[in-house]
């Protein structure tokens, strides 16, 4: 379970401080599929980076599985990212010099899984995202949708509790977007993952069981799939 209490984030830019997040309170239950929407620059990515332990909040508390992780040191946070969290990015962020399979293996190698085992696990994961037949292709030889599938496999291969996806369909056409979204939903249900997904696309957001809206660094609206008769 993810629980944020009064999270703020302030950046210092050239001597002046600028507050991007103003006291965010948020709970995400295990196995939930949460969408985050909001205008550009509202602070969605900043929020997700804090949830993903890539960034530290300026103030506030963050409980992950009931442990306060807001101010852990770098190494601890790296280990938690490696074991509990899988990232999926808008621009896929595969390493260009590695093959699809090697990209998927990477989180396992940082965890110290022996190579043969890592290969086997990664191959299975690629099969689940239907990319096994492209295992030894470099990312540059794959389409956007295919790259995102590989990236999803990489996020899932370490069996994390939480998947964080920052506009995972933002660079894809609507047909491919829907394919990727379907893959997310399928994996989320099969594996009982907690998914937090940022999107600009209302069609995507509506497929999430619950979504929240961020505006100017504040949560302004919570919607559950059940109670949105007006849309």
């Amino acid at each position: 379970m993810i629980e944020l209490k009064g999270i703020t984030r302030t950046y210092m830019i050239g001597g002046t401080s600028q507050t991007i997040l103003h006291g965010i309170d948020l709970k995400v239950e295990d196995g939930e599929f949460l969408g985050i929407i909001g205008p550009s620059g509202s602070g969605k990515s900043t929020l997700m980076n804090i949830i993903g332990l890539l960034d530290r909040p300026t103030t506030g508390q963050y409980f992950l599985q009931d442990e306060d992780v807001a101010q852990l040191d770098d190494d601890r946070r790296s280990i938690i990212r490696n074991q509990f969290i899988g990232f999926v990015f808008q621009m896929f962020f595969l390493l260009p010099r590695l093959t699809a399979l090697e990209n998927v293996m990477l989180p396992l190698s940082y965890r110290g899984v022996p190579e043969a085992k890592a290969k086997e696990m990664s191959m299975q994961m690629l099969e689940r995202v239907e990319m096994a037949y492209r295992a030894d292709h470099k990312p540059s030889a794959l389409s956007g949708g295919q790259q995102q599938r590989v990236a999803i496999a990489r996020a899932l291969v370490g069996d994390p509790k939480v998947i964080l996806a920052d506009e995972p369909t933002g660079a894809l056409d609507s047909k491919t977007s829907q394919d990727v979204m379907n893959l997310f939903m399928k994996l989320q249900q099969e594996e009982k993952k907690t998914v937090v997904l940022i999107t600009h696309d209302m069609k995507i957001a509506d497929q999430c069981k619950r979504h929240i809206e961020v505006q100017d660094g504040r949560l302004v609206q919570e919607t559950s799939v059940g109670d949105q008769p007006n849309r």
């Binding site: 890539l54 770098d74 990212r81 990477l106 940082y110």
Partner: protein, 400 residues
């Protein structure tokens, strides 16, 4: 990640930027090669010098005598202060470690051959000198024990050449004026290899029987002895014994010693400094190579910011990132080092071959080469690796 994974990763990354890797490697290669080549050359030069020396025998020991100012006789060189040949033989008999004695006397007298002046020194010697400092004869014989006060002489190679210029083909049996006296040439020496225990140049000298020196000059006295000593002799103890002997028999003299061990040691020391200097010069080119590595690694870090951020996002610790880059620069430097060591050996052997120093591989420069190459990789790779590890993943992952 463990070390073998870091290593594999480094190799993969280096192979994916072949040209850049090659250029950075080249700097290290040249640097290592010059360190190895220069230090090896320095060592083979040393070896060669020592070899020449050892060929003369490490069992040589030179004693020089100086009449001390403070000696009781104010009249200068009095007879009782002079060491006689008999005393020299007594010295040999009394001190156990001494195997042989070759006393000699240097004289300066005009030399004249058939009305032509010849430049050269005159040295009064005993028959043992020939073996002790290795004088080989071209023709004739050396000064003999029987010659004593006879007017016989052996001429050095340079003197022989001078006589040839005067039209003498075979000098044996010819007469030469030394000061007032006529000497008969009985032997001609081959070119003589300099020896640091004998302070005269045999090539430019005329050797006469030691006793005959006293006829040529009233002031003649034995001022130098080359001793052959038992190799097991304790040198300081030997010196004490000789000092005691001098104190008892010719108290007006001070002694000065030169032992082979001592000379070899100073020679080694000097050569070490020389080799160090050469190594330092090689080190400068390695420094340039190291700066090249640092430059390449900094560029690489800048280019791979995004990769660093991605790796951090999926769980790389700062140390993993640091190791990734550090291993790249170490592997780079070691590759350059290996090839550089080989090139250095080849170059130094070529130098040794053409200088006639004798070909061979020295272990020290090879180890030194690997060590400095690796050290360069670590030293110049550390800062870029550290910079990479301190990047903020958020910054690197933002869309630009």
């Amino acid at each position: 990640m463990n070390y073998s994974q870091y290593l594999r990763q480094a190799l993969d990354n280096l192979l994916s930027a072949k040209l850049r890797t090659f250029l950075a490697m080249l700097g290290i290669l040249v640097g290592t090669a010059s360190v190895v080549a220069l230090v090896s050359s320095g060592q083979s030069a040393t070896e060669k010098a020592l070899q020449q020396f050892k060929a003369l025998g490490t069992n040589l020991f030179a004693v020089s005598f100086y009449q001390s100012e403070s000696s009781g006789n104010s009249a200068g060189s009095s007879e009782e202060d002079k060491i006689s040949l008999e005393q020299v033989y007594k010295l040999k008999a009394q001190i156990k470690g001494i195997k042989g004695v070759s006393p000699y006397i240097s004289l300066y007298r005009p030399i004249n051959f058939l009305g032509h002046n010849v430049n050269g020194n005159i040295i009064g010697v005993t028959e043992t000198l020939q073996r002790t400092i290795r004088i080989n004869l071209m023709s004739g014989r050396f000064i003999s024990f029987l010659d004593r006060y006879s007017y016989f002489c052996v001429i050095g190679n340079k003197i022989y050449q001078d006589l040839q210029k005067l039209g003498v083909q075979d000098p044996i049996g010819k007469q030469i004026h030394l000061g007032e006296n006529m000497f008969t040439i009985v032997g001609v020496a081959e070119k003589w290899q300099e020896n640091s225990f004998f302070n005269q140049d045999v090539n430019g000298s005329i050797l006469i029987p030691l006793q005959a020196s006293y006829i040529l000059s009233k002031n003649a006295s034995i001022q130098n002895i080359v001793l052959r000593v038992d190799p097991k002799t304790d040198i300081p103890e030997l010196q004490d014994q000789i000092n005691a002997f001098v104190e008892r028999n010719v108290p007006g003299n001070k002694t000065f010693y030169r032992s082979a061990k001592e000379v070899i040691n100073t020679m080694k020391e000097q050569n070490q400094i020389f080799t160090l200097l050469l190594g330092f010069i090689g080190g400068i080119s390695l420094l340039v190579g190291g700066i090249g590595v640092m430059n390449v690694m900094l560029v690489s870090v800048a280019e791979r910011r995004r990769e660093i951020g991605i790796r951090m996002a999926i769980g790389a610790r700062r140390n993993d990132i640091r190791m990734m880059f550090l291993f790249e620069s170490i592997v780079l430097s070691l590759l350059g080092g290996v090839v550089g060591v080989v090139a250095g050996i080849v170059i130094s052997n070529m130098v040794a071959f053409f200088a006639g120093w004798g070909v061979g591989i020295f272990i020290f420069p090879v180890i030194l080469g690997f060590f400095v190459a690796a050290a360069t990789g670590i030293f110049f790779g550390y800062y870029p690796a550290y910079r990479a590890s301190q990047l903020d993943p958020i910054e690197t992952l933002r869309y630009e």
